[in-house]
């Protein structure tokens, strides 16, 4: 079967959606994202990126592939390699077998990514569906069309070192995916996400993590020429809008998932919850908009005002996920 590229807003859910569709199971990107319970929030000040804290709006890399593998019983096989040569040879062998192969790569070394977006992020997922000589045919979900990547560049991207080093990780399906029981999978996924957002014991994760971030933002200096404070604010927005998301920290994708789950299973209450999550996503965007205006000095630089917005979002999300959990409990099997 000819492989079909699909433009997606997040790399990992996009890869899984394309891979499953290629193997005959039509699963949209939002469904892949939602069924894997990929939505989250985490503020991790002890992990530093260029001196700034890690702020994540979703589960750690690899979680989507693993959760779908477990939930749908896909028999995904992962392989990592010590030597780049062995890793490239294995990729070639799999492609010769006609397999479509998922790769974990560093986005920095991929030449087709616009230069300004190439940062050292080691868990960018993409699919390789063929090879012509020394050029690989790549379906990168965040690119609009299929692209090509030279062997040398791909090797560098697969064997980048550092945090989350991919070690040449590749993965592929070993059996045709069975049709899922969307109702049972959906209920379980909703329970997991509500639990992560509301009841993670660590105060840095979920709704409490948003409040913790708000407190850190509040403590920033208000001085107009405080470059460090502005970088911090810009960093939050960049993590939210730019790093592998469809905007608003993945809230819109999850809303699309709720809508689609409602349509597939006929469980109506999810429809209204999706609309509420879209509003929360809009609030996240307004936060980003206000932050950018402050960075550009179009309005006064006031971190406490941004902190207040974050607190408002936190309480909205708290109510939202509590109601989501109630809707899940009321969902008769």
């Amino acid at each position: 079967m000819r492989f079909q590229h699909q433009h997606a807003s997040h790399c990992e859910s996009g890869v899984m959606s394309s891979l499953l569709r290629h193997h005959g199971l039509a699963l949209s990107e939002p469904m892949a994202f939602g069924l894997a319970s990929a939505l989250a929030f985490a503020y991790l000040p002890f992990i530093r990126l260029n001196g700034l804290p890690l702020i994540a709006y979703r589960m750690p890399p690899g979680a989507i592939v693993r959760a779908l593998d477990r939930g749908l019983d896909l028999g995904v096989r992962f392989e990592t390699f010590r030597s780049p040569d062995a890793g490239m040879a294995r990729l070639d062998a799999l492609l010769d077998e006609g397999k479509v192969v998922g790769l974990q790569t560093s986005i920095y070394w991929l030449p087709y990514i616009p230069p300004d977006l190439r940062f050292h992020f080691n868990a960018h997922n993409l699919l390789v569906y063929g090879r012509e000589g020394d050029e690989y045919l790549v379906s990168d979900p965040v690119a609009e069309t299929p692209v090509r990547c030279a062997r040398q560049d791909l090797q560098k991207a697969r064997f980048a070192k550092g945090v989350l080093a991919p070690k040449g990780r590749l993965y592929y399906l070993t059996r045709p995916p069975p049709a899922g029981d969307w109702r049972a999978l959906g209920r379980r996924a909703l329970a997991r996400t509500a639990h992560i957002m509301l009841h993670t014991p660590l105060p840095l994760v979920g709704v409490r993590g948003i409040r913790w971030l708000a407190r850190a933002v509040e403590r920033l200096g208000c001085a107009e020429d405080d470059g460090a404070a502005k970088l911090y604010i810009g960093h939050i927005v960049r993590m939210q809008e730019e790093i592998g998301t469809g905007g608003a920290g993945f809230r819109f994708i999850y809303a699309a998932f709720l809508q689609e789950l409602a349509a597939t299973t006929g469980y109506g209450p999810l429809e209204a919850l999706a609309a509420r999550l879209v509003e929360i996503g809009d609030e996240w965007q307004q936060f980003a908009f206000a932050a950018a205006k402050m960075i550009k000095r179009r309005i006064a630089f006031e971190p406490p005002a941004l902190a207040a917005r974050l607190r408002d979002i936190a309480s909205r999300e708290q109510r939202f996920f509590a109601d989501l959990n109630q809707a899940r409990l009321a969902w008769a099997l």
């Binding site: 260029n50 001196g51 945090v163 469809g246 905007g247 809303a255």
Partner: protein, 123 residues
Amino acid sequence: MRERDVPQEGNATLAGHRKAVYAVGEDGKLRVVPSRGWEVEEVVTRQAVEDLERRAREARSPLEYHMYRARMDIAMLAGAVGIWRWRLRRHLRPQVFARLPLRWRRRYAEALGIAVEALARVD
């Protein structure tokens, strides 16, 4: 976000690419809409890139310059080369870098994705 509100502001950092975002269409359903970018993203991306460019300009040694040019920091480059951070910090000092043996220069050049000769130059 409504479909008609999806930003199409021709973001320079996207270099002509379009990214997929989810937005609510006329029928109330969320779907993928390609976006030419949002000024907000451009502001924060340029801010991050410019900060690295500034650090590169203020670098004391060619190695430090190339480290920031490659968008790395001390933790990242030390990890990529496989040495302790204090050791890299020492190598970043101009006097130490000037005397750095060729095999070390090779390791750094490899990790930074540049030629060994380029490592000694600041362009």
